[in-house]
Symmetry: C2
Subunit: 378 residues, 2 copies
Amino acid sequence: MSAVGGQRLSFRVLASDGAARRGEITTPHGTIQTPVFMPVGTLASVKSLTTEQLAALGPEIILCNTYHLMLRPGIDLLEQLGGVHRFMGWDRAVLTDSGGFQLFSLASIRKIREEGVEFRSHIDGSAYFLSPERSVEIQSRMGVDIAMAFDECPAYGLSKGEVEKSMELTHRWARRSLAARRGSALFGIVQGGVHNDLRKRSAEEISGMDFDGVAIGGVSVGEPKHEMQEVVRFTAPLLPADKPRYLMGVGTPEDLLEGVAAGIDMFDCVMPTRNARNGTLFTSLGKVSIKNARFAADPRPLDPHCSCVACRTVSRAYLRHLFLNGEIAASVYNTIHNLSFYLDLMRSIRQSIASNSFGSFRDAFVSRLSSGDEEAKA
Amino acid sequence: MSAVGGQRLSFRVLASDGAARRGEITTPHGTIQTPVFMPVGTLASVKSLTTEQLAALGPEIILCNTYHLMLRPGIDLLEQLGGVHRFMGWDRAVLTDSGGFQLFSLASIRKIREEGVEFRSHIDGSAYFLSPERSVEIQSRMGVDIAMAFDECPAYGLSKGEVEKSMELTHRWARRSLAARRGSALFGIVQGGVHNDLRKRSAEEISGMDFDGVAIGGVSVGEPKHEMQEVVRFTAPLLPADKPRYLMGVGTPEDLLEGVAAGIDMFDCVMPTRNARNGTLFTSLGKVSIKNARFAADPRPLDPHCSCVACRTVSRAYLRHLFLNGEIAASVYNTIHNLSFYLDLMRSIRQSIASNSFGSFRDAFVSRLSSGDEEAKA
């Protein structure tokens, strides 16, 4: 067992299968089995679900969003109300991003200086400031189990020189984030765009700091999928073996399998919850759009291999009916199903690693998906 | 025990307290304790809830909507899929309205003849036809436990002559509905607007027919509250004592207490579910708008006397946060709470009748509401 971060967090690898690892992270709010997928609860709510419904799906950790929560309801209020766990009635682990990613994608006006970022809320234009110190302070005041270092997340398509400059700022901010670490465990973030030499420098730099875990950031920002996969395959092995490795903002079921194969332990993505609200559902036979007319009279469960409440209790025809008519329950059923699909996938991945059969599980899953894309539509 | 309608439905009064009665309706899908409030599931979905969530709240019967379901998903499809129970995964009782009310409030173009009503869908303008025979047939094909006779629901403000003419059509349609009765139990509907002599004639006419229950229709159509209450107080005692009495589309918690006091056994209303989505919540201390700024930092449960999941697990501040930010979970929590409030109220009403204390329960409830309206806002 390789404990990092003292009381804050411990991590141990329980089994390996090639680069894929089956592990366990212990936090003040319980133990997390890895590889793990973290549902996204941007505003302290995993969209469409009550906290009770979410808990019933079994995730051991969720992700909340520093940028959004500092705007609404505000950090003073959140702290006064006892932190994010009490606020949403959630007694398992919470990880927060640092605000870096949202600043560079949402804030309407921002001014980046060495010190930090001045920005205006995308909601009402009011002025805010985030810096490494401020972000880490905020995350600690929210009482989260795992905070993320404050980073700059460069857009895809910048010149290599710009990406390098941004990466170096991220490194200086990483040191300042670490110096500001308080109650929560803190993960560093590797940047470097799609450039292997920059990723290598960043991995070495961040791995050399006393973080409780290390994340790969700056992916899923518009780059082609093969470039993202190449970054992950190249970077993951460069990260410390005795700390959790977190691939931020990824991804599809296939991306999770690729990430695990590269040695990633943690994932988060809005895809299952956002797609659910748009009527795009993940099944063991491929992705389907529930509004498709072929489901109109289909009495079968959405996914015969799923035991979620949508698949146990109602038909494809009913799910289509709810979605087409804008019923709120459509989002609820669809979110439950998509999250169940993701969480079930992670359970199967963990089992396959433990039984040294991850490779064959991955091949079978992907080939079922690609052959099944047609079947799911039949 | 006074069984009506043969196999279809039986009703017995278990206790009385003045005109208020505590009873039991037995249907093919279970026994219903009365007085009962039926949550509204217009499109075979009680808005915002999965069927599993709805069942956990404990209602023994819900109301679905013939007009809406014949438009979407359509009756042929619904029948092919095994009826409304199987469609939504609901194994308790279902009552459907006959379409009469919606025809007169929603259909974009309609042509009323003695035979029935030609109308165009408010959604896509396509042409439909409803008649007593067609409505009863549709309700039976959906497999509902209780169907409603097809009636004309006159708008408030018509001349007495027009209301009388409409009532007489409703009576002729009632006879035709009854002649068309098939698998489902069938309730007649008393009309007559706000005119006591018409209500008396209608009550006598409908009570004289072999229905399984009798409803008061044509209220909550825009008339002042005191006129509605007068209609109920006047009409309810004129209905058969050995059949369930149903007050359609009513109402506020106070309206339910008034209705029970007049001898009503069944109620339905969109108020708890619709208000929930608008952020208006019923509490034991009065109605509150959850978006109010005074809840911003309020760590207390919404209603200290409620044990629903919203009141057990999250604060007023959190409910306000979800609502203000348009989170879908706001509708879910709010709907669970408002329906819990209504269903708890009906449980308390039934207990108070059984213990001969309905009058004092009603007085205490109403006085707590009126004194508490301020307190709830404090």
